[in-house]
């Protein structure tokens, strides 16, 4: 796919309606059938996917910069100032410190155990580098390390592996991960020695991090890679924990993996060569492209886009930024509106971005526990494959009911239900005259625009506001105040809000 012009964007988004009906979001076909609403607004689609939930400020920016300008701006996070997050992080120096700093902090306060998942949420909500934070989420799943008893190591891993390379070079990220104490401990390579190699990391680095399970390796390759990586371990010293290559436990016999001969008598070169072979293998390009397209485009990734994105990945030697630019400016991307079901953390962060609460970290991190109920506590997925991506894993009775309950409760932060959350609903929903107007204004705040409601939706919501009365009569201040929080909750609970 080549660069996309503005006009092409519009043409392709026109295709979105038909494709989306097939994807199963029934409400959008109803909206479009009824209102003759044409193509999905391409700016809305781009913001839905690049951000964690579009805000009015995002609309202003994309209107200003144009769609491609916005994409390029978000692809260069190093040039985007992020003062709110920087200031918040400066209050917790250990988040920018060593594993030992984190553990010392946990000795002083139990809050650290909730602060660490909380910082993931906070950054997603407030960072100006929205696409970067989405990439961080993607790679956090890809190189999954659950905190368990590795909280300190994972804080470091997040900084020096995930965030350092999230839009950088894949080979660099893989090498960093292979030498990250968090990963070395989690997948047991730290204890793997020549006499009895531990195959855990060797298998997962091929299956989950690079080639993919159908990427063409054998059980013999797993064993050879495990032997090649013996000696990749961790050493603790006065300066803290660090990667260390221990030649004394390294298997120095010759090995063969994926058709490559690794000569005997070598040291760390064995592992580095293996990682290099894996990072640059065509199966890896295809595997990473498939996962990126699944995350950013559709649960059923279009083969054409996988193919072309894998091509960019290969020819740029694993340049993640170029690969993402290709995906985000592709026709397939532009015609994929409303094909992605929000995962629980996407749902929660989008709600927070829509309502713009003032969030401080008190002693009741309600949001962290809510996310745990929803099944996606950050950094807590225990198998090595990361939280599932596709809707089929998340779209179920329990998950849906939990979302509704969260949506119905959260806006009552405006009544002081949660001591560490301040919320001013009047700041996001302007004063209007009638119930109909209130529904439209609330829909604009939550769904970006009232056009995303069907007539049936509007009537039901207005009937709620007026207790089945006339929605065109003036609303009293009391009724507005009484009904607005739940009205917003209903919009957040709506099917419209669950899809991007």
């Amino acid at each position: 796919m080549q660069k996309t012009s503005r006009r092409d964007f519009l043409k392709w988004t026109g295709m979105a309606a038909a494709a989306t009906a097939a994807a199963g979001s029934g409400w959008i076909s109803r909206v479009q059938a009824q209102q003759g609403v044409g193509p999905v607004d391409p700016s809305w689609h781009v913001l839905n996917r690049l951000t964690w939930g579009p805000t009015p400020a995002d609309f202003d920016r994309i209107a200003d910069m144009g769609i491609e300008g916005y994409i390029d701006w978000q692809l260069a996070p190093e040039f985007i100032p992020d003062p709110v997050v920087d200031e918040w992080l400066s209050k917790y120096p250990y988040l920018n410190g060593s594993a030992e700093d984190v553990y010392r902090a946990t000795d002083r306060s139990d809050y650290v155990y909730t602060l660490v998942p909380w910082q993931r949420i906070y950054r997603a909500v407030y960072s100006e580098r929205q696409l970067f934070e989405r990439m961080v989420e993607f790679w956090t799943d890809h190189f999954n390390v659950p905190v368990g008893d590795l909280m300190g190591e994972k804080v470091v891993d997040d900084r020096v592996v995930i965030r350092q390379h999230a839009l950088g070079n894949f080979r660099d990220m893989l090498l960093a991960s292979a030498q990250s104490p968090a990963m070395l401990y989690y997948l047991n390579n730290a204890e793997s020695v020549a006499e009895h190699p531990n195959e855990n990391y060797a298998r997962e680095v091929m299956e989950l991090h690079t080639l993919g399970v159908d990427g063409g390796y054998t059980e013999d390759d797993v064993k050879a890679v495990a032997r090649a990586l013996t000696g990749f371990t961790v050493r603790s010293s006065a300066d803290g924990e660090a990667f260390y290559f221990d030649i004394s436990v390294h298997d120095q016999e010759p090995k063969e993996m994926l058709g490559h001969q690794l000569p005997g008598g070598r040291g760390i070169e064995d592992g580095l060569q293996v990682l290099d072979i894996l990072a640059t293998h065509p199966s890896t390009a295809r595997f990473i492209a498939t996962k990126l397209v699944r995350r950013f485009v559709s649960d059923n990734p279009p083969p054409s886009l996988i193919e072309s994105a894998a091509g960019v990945f290969l020819t740029t030697s694993g340049d993640i930024r170029q690969t993402m630019r290709h995906i985000l400016t592709s026709a397939e991307f532009m015609s994929s509106a409303y094909m992605k079901f929000r995962r629980p953390i996407d749902f929660m962060v989008a709600m927070l971005r829509a309502l713009k609460p003032g969030l401080s970290f008190g002693d009741r991190p309600w949001l962290v526990w809510s996310l745990e109920d929803l099944g996606q506590l950050p950094w807590s997925w225990s198998p090595p494959n990361g939280y599932p991506d596709a809707a089929v894993a998340w779209m179920n009775t329990s998950g849906l009911l939990n979302r509704w309950n969260m949506a119905l409760n959260f806006p009552y932060a405006s009544d002081g239900w949660y001591e560490d959350i301040q919320l001013d609903l009047n700041a996001i929903v302007p004063q209007v005259r009638t119930a109909d107007q209130l529904v439209s204004a609330a829909a604009a705040a939550v769904l970006g625009s009232p056009v995303r409601l069907t007539d049936q939706d509007r009537q039901a919501l207005a009937a709620f506001v007026t207790d089945e009365g006339n929605p065109t009569l003036p609303l009293t201040e009391d009724i507005r105040n009484d009904k607005l929080p739940t009205l917003l909750g209903l919009l957040i609970a709506s099917p419209q809000f669950q899809w991007t």
């Binding site: 531990n198 399970v213 009775t397 329990s398 849906l400 049936q456 939706d457 739940t486 609970a493």
Partner: protein
């Protein structure tokens, strides 16, 4: 299907009207009878067992759960740090089952079930597909079609679809947890249930009824046109039914004490649903943490802790459900077993053959399967060979206990061999 819609609509309208006080005669036959009938009533007039399918995520070390101590040095020499000693009558050694195999001592709570004749082990069981990948092995096992991803549903879901009877209860198939297990996924909807007590709409009391009708409208649940609306419909049906019984008062029978972990509490909820007679046919529940690459321990330690959790949960369920056991089959599986030889970290890497466990009134105690031993010539890449396809065990459950003979639809292309673990109902 026509019937289904009608019943659902009836239920929904009852739900909106508030069901309290309505006489039981108005309820469809599968409505909860808890409040009306203290005694168990088989949910299925065709006399079928309720199936409880347990998945041990991570790959359980079957060789240390049901220990082949009769293999002598072939077992002990390969596991110098983690082997479980031969039975000596103490709790620091394997518990003798049949003179050749012994149970991990942490699983002692299950010895009562074994002695009662209702606990069977199938050793050398597993999937014939050679993969040692967790995710592939789990997917294949839960689809029921090793090596083939083209099947559109999990094996339990195909069972429900192909059964000669249908059952419109939203509780027909329940997955305990935040996600529905792969075996349950497919066209026949399965309920994801974390907590019976919490399964209701929250928010302001004075608005619950209005909120519920707005959400019903937003999701168009009268004519669900997509998967999300279908799930929404299920939520309302389930909320309405659960509002019928006060689950906080649940008292397990016979002094059963469910352990406090997720698995134990999940089994407790399954027991509640079975007793409430809400139409439950299949429940799936997971117990994770079995990927013991390091420091798995022997008699004590991490593996013993996990095995103990499993056994305590199952024993509590058995105690609580003693009167119901003639109509219950519990089966365990795990994506693969673990390497015979222990690794450098005092753990075991991914293996192949494993042990499955079956508990229920229809089973006969014993160690089943074709045991070929642990000598090098019969190992599969260093692992216990799979000599019993796990589908053999499931096929026998399906035909003898669940009353479904459509094995060609559940396990297409597979010819099962029955092990005669079960009596027919």
């Amino acid at each position: 299907m026509q019937m289904a819609t009608t019943r659902r609509n009836l239920l929904r309208s009852l739900g909106h009207a508030g069901v309290a006080g309505v006489s039981s005669a108005l309820f469809p036959s599968w409505m909860p009878k808890l409040v009306f009938s203290p005694r168990y009533q088989n949910n299925a007039p065709g006399q079928r067992d309720v199936l409880v399918a347990i998945f041990q995520r991570g790959g359980m070390d079957g060789l240390n759960a049901v220990i082949p101590f009769g293999e002598g040095s072939l077992y002990y020499d390969r596991r110098p740090g983690i082997a479980i000693p031969e039975p000596d009558g103490s709790e620091m050694a394997a518990l003798d089952l049949d003179g050749y195999f012994g149970l991990h001592p942490s699983m002692k709570p299950l010895m009562d079930v074994w002695d009662a004749g209702s606990l069977a082990f199938i050793h050398g069981a597993g999937s014939p597909h050679p993969t040692r990948s967790h995710f592939d092995a789990m997917e294949y096992m839960e689809r029921g079609t090793p090596g083939d991803r083209s099947t559109s549903a999990g094996w339990i879901n195909r069972h429900l679809l192909s059964a000669s009877w249908q059952n419109e209860s939203p509780f027909r198939a329940v997955g305990i947890g935040a996600m529905v297990q792969g075996s349950l996924r497919g066209a026949s909807n399965a309920l994801a249930l974390q907590s019976i007590v919490d399964f209701h709409l929250q928010g302001r009391e004075d608005q619950i009824s209005a909120v519920s009708s707005v959400i019903s409208s937003l999701y168009n649940i009268d004519a669900p046109a997509d998967m999300l609306s279908t799930q929404a419909t299920e939520v309302f049906d389930t909320v309405n039914m659960l509002s019928q019984f006060e689950s906080r008062d649940y008292q397990p029978a016979n002094g059963a004490n469910y352990p406090d972990h997720d698995f134990g509490q999940g089994l407790r909820q399954i027991a509640q649903l079975i007793k409430a007679d809400v139409g439950l046919e299949v429940a799936a529940i997971d117990i994770g943490g079995w990927d013991t690459h390091e420091s798995q321990g022997g008699v004590g330690g991490y593996f013993g802790y996990l095995a103990g959790n499993l056994a305590q949960g199952l024993a509590a369920f058995y105690t609580d459900m003693r009167d119901y056991m003639p109509g219950i089959t519990v089966v365990t599986m795990s994506e693969f077993g673990r390497r015979l030889e222990e690794n450098a970290s005092g753990g075991t890497d991914h293996g192949h053959g494993n042990v499955m466990m079956v508990m229920g009134g229809g089973a006969s105690s014993g160690v089943y399967g074709r045991w070929v031993g642990l000598s090098n010539d019969v190992l599969d890449e260093g692992d216990l060979a799979v000599t019993t396809d796990y589908r053999d065990v499931l096929s026998e459950i399906l035909t003898k206990r669940l009353g479904n003979d459509s094995l060609d639809e559940i396990f297409p292309g597979y010819q099962p061999v029955m092990l005669d673990i079960f009596q027919s109902r």
